[in-house]
């Protein structure tokens, strides 16, 4: 076991030292990566790396059970939960670089530095040269040792944490569950409403029409070459994930039209002008009415 490598004195084996320095670099690097990556997904992956490194550290220090739990539960379950949510919220969503709170970033860095210096100075000042080591405590194995403690001295806390977990699970369900206040409107009713209001009676344009790409996040182009925003599904629009149709492409479309018109000999008045994106329709009635209200 690696734990046996840990001497009862103030130093560790060279092997552990080497291992530590490698893991430390990974852990710090992961942490910094999490801090600095603009995309949430990247941050999550960096954090996962850090956690793995830490798991190995645990094991190196004789906390085998914890190391395993760290990998299985933390990295395996909790981080995956994070990733799920990131996906739900939008994988590509990025933090804008512009800081809105005045002086926040500066103050944060200052506080962080100060805090780090303080902690490190504190540790350096403390007399921590003697390490007992876990050889004795782990004599019958790390897991039995932990189990003995958990089910004797800490049994009360253990039960309470169990209750906490259940509460948290129920809480999460309650928070994310949405009760329908009124019966959801059927498609028929929605259509009837649309006709009554006389807004967007025909079906919405499909994405990717007249486009080089037919991906869902690329809006369709109208016959005059302008962008039809409402051809992209509402969720993507909400997230701001509508991909721009580049100006060059619009230019190309116009040229194509023009050459077609030349070939057909149409008058210039019927030719499309190369214009900005068309104004999108005012309300979008058939997409998630409730959300419109919430805003």
């Amino acid at each position: 076991m690696i734990a046996h490598l840990a001497a009862a004195t103030g130093t560790t084996s060279t092997g552990e030292a080497v291992q530590f320095w490698v893991l430390a670099v990974i852990a710090v690097g992961g942490a910094l990566g999490m801090l600095l990556m603009r995309k949430a997904v990247h941050s999550a992956l960096c954090l996962a790396a850090t956690m793995m490194a830490l798991a190995v550290c645990y094991m190196a220090q004789g906390a085998v059970f914890l190391g395993v739990v760290q990998i299985v539960v933390y990295t395996g379950a909790i981080m995956m939960l994070f990733l799920f949510v990131v996906m739900l919220v939008g994988v590509t969503s990025e933090d804008s670089l512009k800081e809105q709170l005045k002086g926040q970033r500066f103050a944060a860095v200052l506080c962080g530095l100060g805090f780090g210096v303080l902690l490190i100075a504190g540790i350096a000042n403390a007399r921590l040269d003697h390490f007992t080591g876990l050889a004795e405590a782990n004599a019958e194995g790390n897991v039995p040792g932990l189990a003995r403690l958990i089910f004797t001295r800490y049994v009360w806390a253990f039960e309470v944490t169990g209750a906490l977990l259940i509460t948290a699970a129920i809480g999460a369900m309650v928070l994310t569950h949405r009760e329908h206040v009124k019966a959801p409107r059927t498609q028929r009713e929605l259509a009837a409403q649309r006709v009554r209001d006389n807004i967007q009676v025909p079906p919405l344009p499909a994405p990717g029409v007249y486009a080089r790409h037919n991906a869902v996040n690329v809006p369709a182009l109208l016959p005059d070459g302008t962008v039809a925003e409402d051809s992209v599904m509402a969720t993507l629009r909400e997230r701001g994930q509508v991909r721009d149709v580049s100006q060059a492409m619009l230019q190309r479309m116009a040229e194509l039209e023009n050459s077609t018109a030349d070939w057909l000999g149409r008058p210039s008045s019927e030719r499309p002008a190369v214009a900005g994106p068309r104004k999108s329709l005012e309300p979008v009635p058939n997409h998630e009415n409730g959300e419109e209200d919430a805003q």
Binding site: Q104, A107, C111, F115, L119, A121, G122, N125
Partner: protein
């Protein structure tokens, strides 16, 4: 017999309470009840007088202790009465004249719808005045002192619907309060000095106190006397007080209350005797007021205000006499009593004239009334002769003695005082003759009222005439009665003490001089008002006349020196309170509010900002913990 003493006060007090609380039930007979109670009190007084005469001079004073009023350790104020010759004199004067004036008021106020209340106030006045003169300590005296002030306030302002009456009442009370301040400071001084303010202990140990302290007490008592007796410089209220019904002017502002100052000084003889400086001040005040009142009396066209000036002047005589010390105390009181008769009579006469002339008070609108109001003319005339000191009438005896005593003061001082008194006698004769001539002689200068009707002067009803006659009898004979065998002197001497001064002039010389002065004044007045017709509209007159018409500018002076700066000060303070003190408080609140507003911006609602402050806080905590560890 002594148990009658409290009843002297109780009878009118009960009358007052009954009439005030009884309500409408007393409307029909309340005035008779009040008069009866006043007469009852007079009866008690007579009984006590008879009883007193039965004892010899040294044992006439009696004390009647009722109950302990305010006992706080050394401070022992009792409700207890002391009836000696001085109090007795006052008791008889107050109840006697008071009863007559009650009787007069029955007729005078017959048509007033608030007559019941008027009689209640009159009874209240009698009670307070009796309390004043019967008190055996200064605090109880102060009780009566302010009590008469209250009654005077209520009666001057009896016709409250007239703003002038309400103002006059308030003015009288407030000016009196300034005097009362003097009395209360005097009591405090006595308590601090002697540990008591009852008459006997204070007078007994007065000689142990330093002269400075006694002078201070004396001056404070003088201030009190000035307020109550309308002496310079607190004289300004008396003229305005004539706004009250005429019986009130007769009783309170001529015969009794205004003389309380003289009583106070005479009562405190033991203190003044030991404080010559205070006495000098008293004399100066008396002499100045004597001339002041006389001059004012010469210029007034309002009959009551002319008489008020005269009252002021006559009280000036009394104060002068009292200030002379043992030479003059007795004569001050003697003049006080005779003055009580003739001045009350004069006022009642004036009231009768006004009654007949539809409440006209301007003498320039009278004239030739003697045929229309013979009784009034006769009684007023006798009073007139008495006040100018016509030989043989009461004023002659009492005033003569005062002038004599003034000369007897000796030295330059004596000459100055004597001459002042002589000049005063001449001026008195002048203005009284003027009043007499303008009112009863000459041609009719009656003015039509608003509807164009001329007044129909008529004689007053019997209830009014009888008191006038009785008072006239008093004015004629009282002086002689007192003077025969020096009976009044012997009567009062045990209380006030007496010493004969050595006058540089013989008694007959003074009498002669006085008579000459009186005749000169009378003659001058006859030349000015009796021989030529009197203009209805007053001529512009000399600056002195104009000033005298305005009470020698006393109100203007008060206005400029006290009222104007006072209201400015008040306005400034009101501003200071709302902007300064309260402004400071509100400013403090505004500053805190502003700071909070600033601080509120820290709570910007951004989680990260809160996290930053938490983190900063942790930082500080950790740093300070480490620092504390390492130190």
């Amino acid at each position: 017999m002594n148990s009658l003493i409290p009843l002297l006060v109780a009878a009118p007090l009960a009358g007052s309470a009954l009439l005030l609380l009884g309500g409408r039930a007393f409307d029909r007979f309340g005035h008779w009840l009040a008069t009866a109670l006043a007469a009852l009190s007079f009866g008690f007084g007579l009984a006590l007088f008879w009883d007193m005469l039965g004892r010899d001079g040294e044992h006439r004073a009696v004390t009647e202790h009722l109950f302990s009023w305010v006992p706080v350790n050394a401070f022992q104020a009792d409700v207890s009465f002391r009836l000696d010759q001085l109090s007795m004199t006052f008791v008889l004067l107050i109840t006697g004249v008071g009863t007559l004036i009650h009787l007069y008021s029955v007729g005078y106020m017959a048509h007033d719808e608030r007559r019941r209340r008027f009689f209640a106030y009159l009874n209240l006045f009698l009670a307070a005045m009796l309390l004043l003169v019967l008190a055996d300590n200064y605090l109880l005296l102060y009780f009566g002192w302010e009590g008469v002030g209250l009654a005077s306030y209520l009666l001057i302002g009896f016709w409250q619907h007239k703003p002038s009456a309400a103002t006059a009442a308030k003015k009288a009370f407030i000016v009196n309060r300034v005097g009362d301040m003097g009395l209360s400071i005097a009591i405090m001084l006595m308590f601090a000095e002697f540990g008591s303010f009852a008459f006997t202990p204070v007078f007994d140990s007065a000689h142990e106190a330093s002269e400075g302290k006694l002078t201070a007490i004396g001056l404070m008592l003088l201030l009190a006397a000035c307020g109550k007796s309308a002496q310079v410089p607190l004289q300004s209220w008396l003229g305005d007080a004539m706004e009250g019904p005429t019986p009130v002017s007769a009783l309170i502002h001529a015969a009794t209350m205004v003389t309380a100052g003289v009583y106070l000084i005479t009562r405190s003889a033991a203190i003044f005797n030991l404080a010559p400086d205070a006495r000098t001040a008293v004399v100066v005040v008396g002499a100045v007021t004597l001339l002041f009142g006389a001059i004012v009396g010469c210029a007034k066209d309002d009959i009551k205000k002319a008489l008020a000036g005269s009252t002021m002047s006559q009280i000036g005589y009394m104060v002068l006499a009292a200030g002379l010390g043992p030479i003059g105390y007795v004569f001050a009181i003697m003049h006080l009593v005779t003055h009580g008769f003739f001045k009350a009579g004069l006022f009642l006469g004036a009231g009768s004239v006004m009654h007949g002339m539809d409440d006209e008070v301007n003498m320039r609108h009278y004239g030739g009334l003697r045929k229309h109001m013979p009784w009034t003319f006769a009684t007023f005339g006798l009073g007139y002769l008495a006040i100018i000191g016509f030989p043989g009438l009461s004023g002659f005896f009492s005033k003569d003695r005062i002038i004599e005593a003034a000369f007897a003061e000796g030295g330059t001082e004596g000459w100055i005082l004597g001459l002042c008194a002589l000049v005063g006698a001449a001026v008195t004769a002048f203005y009284m003759t003027r009043v007499m001539l303008l009112t009863f002689f000459g041609e009719k200068r009656w003015q039509p009222d608003a509807e164009g009707n001329l007044p129909h002067p008529h004689e007053a009803p019997r209830t009014m005439v009888i008191p006038m006659v009785l008072l006239a009898v008093g004015s004629v004979f009282a002086g002689a009665l007192f003077d025969i065998n020096d009976s009044f002197l012997k009567w009062l001497e045990p209380v006030t003490g007496h010493s004969e001064g050595n006058s540089p002039l013989s008694s007959w010389t003074v009498t002669g001089l006085t008579t000459v002065c009186m005749l000169a004044g009378l003659g001058l007045a006859y030349v000015m008002y009796g021989r030529s017709p009197v203009p209805v509209v007053p001529p512009v007159g000399s600056p002195l006349t104009r000033a005298a018409r305005r009470d020698l500018l006393q109100d203007d002076f008060n206005h400029a020196v006290l009222v104007r700066p006072g209201s400015a000060l008040t306005a400034t303070l009101v501003f200071f309170d709302s902007r300064g003190l309260d402004g400071f408080v509100n400013g403090l609140a505004a500053v805190i509010g502003g700071l909070s507003g600033r601080l509120r911006r820290v709570q910007n609602g951004f989680v990260r900002s809160y996290a930053l402050s938490m983190f900063g806080g942790t930082l500080v905590l950790v740093a300070s913990t480490l620092l504390m560890r390492s130190v």
